[in-house]
């Protein structure tokens, strides 16, 4: 895939050594379990090794998170594990605020409950939330990773967080 500024794709073994833990953590939060996270990391390393991905120097974390998210969403679509849910990106559908006003979540309950709630989010919302809050990416980087406009990213992140609140309040 020739890019206008051709940059060599980083060496995959170097990527695995230096960013393996970061990548696995993002993969785990996206997939929700060890086996799928491990497979997803392998798929990302494979894509890096094949060198068919556009690479521009910049944040390696953002680049890898992008590959991971694309691989994850490809796999999700392939498996069609979930019925296709319409994505409600418009403001009208954002949950009303206020009902959980002074929630302070306790860390001990949170790890498992929060991961379970994350796993129940529609995949595209989960991807946006994980990229922003786990991978620490800017909205602009998330928009590039998901190939959607920045306004859509903002909406998915907020709605994703609102759905998590709802899930946690049920837990």
């Amino acid at each position: 895939m020739a890019d206008e500024d051709e940059h060599p794709v980083p060496d995959w073994e170097e990527v695995a050594r230096t960013y393996g833990r970061f990548l696995y953590n993002v993969a785990y939060r996206l997939t929700g379990n060890e086996a799928d996270a491990s497979d997803l990391v392998q798929e990302v390393l494979l894509r890096v090794r094949r060198g068919l991905i556009t690479y521009r120097p910049g944040s390696m974390e953002a680049w890898l998170s992008r590959i991971a998210t694309n691989a994850f969403l490809d796999e999700v679509r392939r498996r069609r594990r979930r019925p296709v849910e319409p994505l409600l990106d418009d403001h009208e559908h954002v949950l009303p605020g206020g009902e959980a006003a002074d929630v302070e979540y306790e860390a001990r309950v949170l790890g498992e409950d929060l991961q379970a709630a994350l796993s129940r989010l529609p995949d595209e919302f989960r991807a946006a939330v994980v990229l922003a809050d786990v991978a620490g990416m800017s909205y602009a980087d998330v928009a590039t990773a998901l190939d959607v406009p920045p306004g859509t990213v903002r909406s998915r992140i907020h709605r994703g967080r609102a759905l998590l609140r709802l899930e946690l309040s049920r837990a």
Partner: protein, 140 residues
């Protein structure tokens, strides 16, 4: 930006994430000062955001790089098999030679085989993976 008078919606997350420009941020803070509903949603969203960011980093249980290297090797079996077959053939040829004068032609053969596209060779291609020398499977 939401219209004046409507609630903040996803501008709340954008505020928390530092994604608003100066003008929008001022407008959002202005709204928050007078709207209990949005102020409550801000606190609730902040709590979820903080919880997500406080999630522990999950460490891989297995050696991801080693698994990827094994996979990388598995995906090149034809190349390895062909290389192994070439080595076997040359060893047989060299062993069969009666005198030292056979050495130069063998060297040329080695070179020819080494530079040939082994995958294009209809014979070496058929060598089963079982013939792959074990030493090729060692970890670097």
């Amino acid at each position: 930006m939401p219209d004046r008078g409507s609630h903040l919606g996803d501008a709340i997350s954008a505020l928390l994430d530092g994604e608003l420009d100066v003008v929008d941020e001022a407008a959002v803070r202005d709204h928050l000062a007078g709207c209990d509903s949005c102020a409550a949603e801000l606190r609730a969203t902040q709590a979820v955001r903080a919880a997500l960011r406080a999630l522990p980093v999950v460490a891989p249980v297995s050696d991801l790089a080693a698994r990827a290297r094994r996979r990388a090797r598995r995906e090149r079996p034809l190349v390895w098999a062909a290389a192994a077959a070439t080595v076997v053939a040359l060893v047989v040829l060299a062993g069969g030679g009666q005198d030292d004068r056979s050495a130069p032609p063998v060297a040329r053969l080695v070179e020819a085989h080494a530079t040939a596209d082994v995958r294009a060779d209809p014979v070496t291609h058929l060598v089963p993976p079982a013939l792959i020398p074990v030493s090729l499977e060692l970890e670097p």
